[in-house]
Symmetry: C2
Subunit: 199 residues, 2 copies
């Protein structure tokens, strides 16, 4: 059996951007399969008493986050621009990602992150979501279809599942033996854990 990790992401999360852009390459090099799982941080933050991103609640952390991501993305040769307002409302794109599976979900997610943090554009807009679908080679009609109750409920259930797994921020990585790792900078450690647990 191949080792696997679950990659929990929210399109509102800035540090999920470099993680989404590099996880396949890094995971493949270590022989780990990645399951991409969209979720919403909003309800999870609300349970911690945050009504906004911690990067807005604590501006000094927000300023540092931008500089830190400029450096991190620079080292990965990824463009980085913070969209305004930050964080973006990620609900529409999270539903579309939920309605997709496998490679299409991943390609769509990467296209959204590219638009949002690579180009600094809004993603809370049906036109932007449709553009991300087209960039991923998918049908733009999914923007409408993803607003069904079944998809809404699936995203709600996924967010509850993430929270039950201990997820309190994004990106988060969970191994098959339920070990939780938080942050783009813990990706390698999570993959190594998945490989070691499997031996």
């Amino acid at each position: 059996m191949t080792p696997t990790i679950t990659f929990w992401f929210d399109f509102a999360s800035s540090y999920s951007y470099p993680a989404a852009m590099r996880i396949d390459r890094v995971a493949a090099a270590k022989g780990v399969l990645v399951e991409w799982r969209p979720m919403l941080l909003g309800p999870i933050f609300a349970q911690q008493g945050w009504k906004d991103s911690p990067f807005n609640l604590y501006p000094v952390k927000g300023q540092y986050m931008v500089r830190d991501l400029e450096r991190t993305c620079g080292a990965l040769d990824l463009p980085f621009q913070l969209p305004r307002p930050f964080p973006q409302n990620s609900l529409m794109c999270a539903r579309i990602a939920t309605a997709l599976e496998g490679a299409p979900r991943q390609k769509f997610a990467q296209a959204v992150y590219q638009i949002e943090f690579g180009e600094g554009r809004s993603i809370d807009d049906p036109l932007a979501a449709a553009e991300a679908l087209r960039r991923a080679g998918l049908d733009a009609a999914l923007v409408e279809k993803a607003q069904q109750d079944s998809v809404k409920n699936a995203l709600r259930a996924a967010t509850e599942e993430a929270q039950a797994a201990g997820v309190f921020g994004a990106p988060a990585f969970v191994t098959a033996d339920s070990e939780l790792f938080w942050g783009n900078d813990r990706l390698e450690q999570a993959l190594d854990w998945a490989v070691a647990g499997h031996l």
Copy 2:
């Protein structure tokens, strides 16, 4: 000229422990000189509206921090035990470290971290501070001497200097060209920046 970084630490900070234990080895391997600077996070956190450690204000983050440090310290072959209460009152030891310089400051700091996070013991106690001084080969009488106004003022000024440099958490690393890096997991990046800026 040799590249240098300033290493800002607080004895109350759990992530400063692995940083303090490994910084000399990692910095020496990259040819960087490290200036150890004690400070107090309390006044800095207070300005962000925190009256306690974020790890207590947000218990789910506190639980994760413990597990994350178990893994990080495990990989470094460092014992890890969280002292109770957490965070420890670091004022007495911070004053002693302020009264020291150079290698004695560093050896004392490492002895404090060893007692606090390696052995999980309280450091807010003249006996513990004296023990750390003895482990560092220093005179235990410094526990008393460090309570002078000149030392108190120097620590207050250092904390203001850290804050002016943008420090909002610990450990923090600042390069000669004022680039700020936050967290034990950014140490290598800070050292690489110091080296590159120097070339």
